[in-house]
Symmetry: C2
Subunit: 195 residues, 2 copies
């Protein structure tokens, strides 16, 4: 699966990283809106077109590892221990992700995001994609047999939990509070009763 990457792929990854680093540095120094794409490209010493071949948009420069987020969520569903119920696994993962993004080192980045309408909007539409992926993962689970609507609903609720917790005064408590509500919703949607 993981063959040793050739020089080409290493160079490509290096370029991508160079761009991401330059972008983050400039954004934190001067503010997101005050930095133009051409500035970032110049700082990273690449052409503007090259930048856009690595990142789909200016906002994507900030959410560089958004695929990690998505994968961790779907992994939490597909890779959980056999017989393990769905929601505790998801709750654990969301809890970890919230902790991760409210850690001290990440504070400046999230402050930048929170004060930029553009970035907040982008983040939300990103979460929506994540919710869709999560819904697919849930729907694919043979143990559960839910309607499509129920899968998508639960997936949205879980993403909501993340979004709301991130902004709450006490993020970890918020995750617990919201997941209590999701568990209740789940019980209604899930046809499998064990009693």
């Amino acid at each position: 699966m993981t063959v040793p990457p050739g020089r080409r792929e290493r160079k490509k990854a290096a370029t991508r990283q160079k761009i991401a680093d330059a972008a983050l540095r400039l954004f934190l120094e001067r503010g997101y809106e005050a930095v133009g794409i051409r500035d970032v490209a110049a700082e990273a010493d690449v052409a503007v077109t090259t930048l856009f071949s690595h990142f789909a948009s200016k906002e994507a420069l900030v959410f560089e590892q958004d695929q990690d987020f998505e994968q961790r969520l779907t992994q939490a569903v597909t890779g959980r221990a056999p017989q393990e119920p769905l929601l505790p696994a998801l709750r654990r993962e969301i809890q970890a992700l919230v902790r991760h993004c409210t850690a001290d080192g990440a504070a400046p980045i999230w402050h930048m995001i929170d004060t930029s309408p553009t970035l907040r909007e982008y983040e939300e539409s990103m979460r929506l994609r994540h919710a869709e992926s999560l819904a697919v993962a849930i729907a694919a689970d043979p143990v559960l047999s839910l309607t499509t609507t129920a899968c998508r609903t639960i997936a949205r609720f879980v993403i909501d939990a993340y979004a709301l917790a991130r902004e709450a005064a006490d993020p970890e408590a918020a995750v617990d509070e919201i997941f209590l509500m999701i568990e209740a919703a789940w019980e209604v949607a899930s046809p499998s009763r064990r009693t």
Copy 2:
């Protein structure tokens, strides 16, 4: 409260409507992406800057009556009969809104929205604003006493219901299905138990 509007405000409203009409006509004729802002302005016979003084963005031209939507939601909360429980009132309103936007006449518009990533993204971020307003309305209700997080969670869930139902095969059934789940979540969050 409603003083007879002066000539000025009437003219302004007329201009706004003229722009919205021109935009919708062109969008439906040639497709959203194929029509430029300059085209719309020319068709409505106004300057581009005038267009942008009435609408904040190109996408906003499509969701012209988005404030109606927001108001109907908050009205459903603040203007419901005394003693009437919250969720049935909200369910009724969402049901009506879903019916409204899946009506036959509206089909071309929603098809346009559904086939344009830009418009879908915009719609979602609009819904998010609606969820915030709804959360505030719920939090302001003296009969209910919920945590801030619970208010925002319920508000998000309700907006999710709308968004998911709009895309479901049977929208009205989807609203019912999702509201069953929300009711369950609500029971957990609401401290007021009546037996």
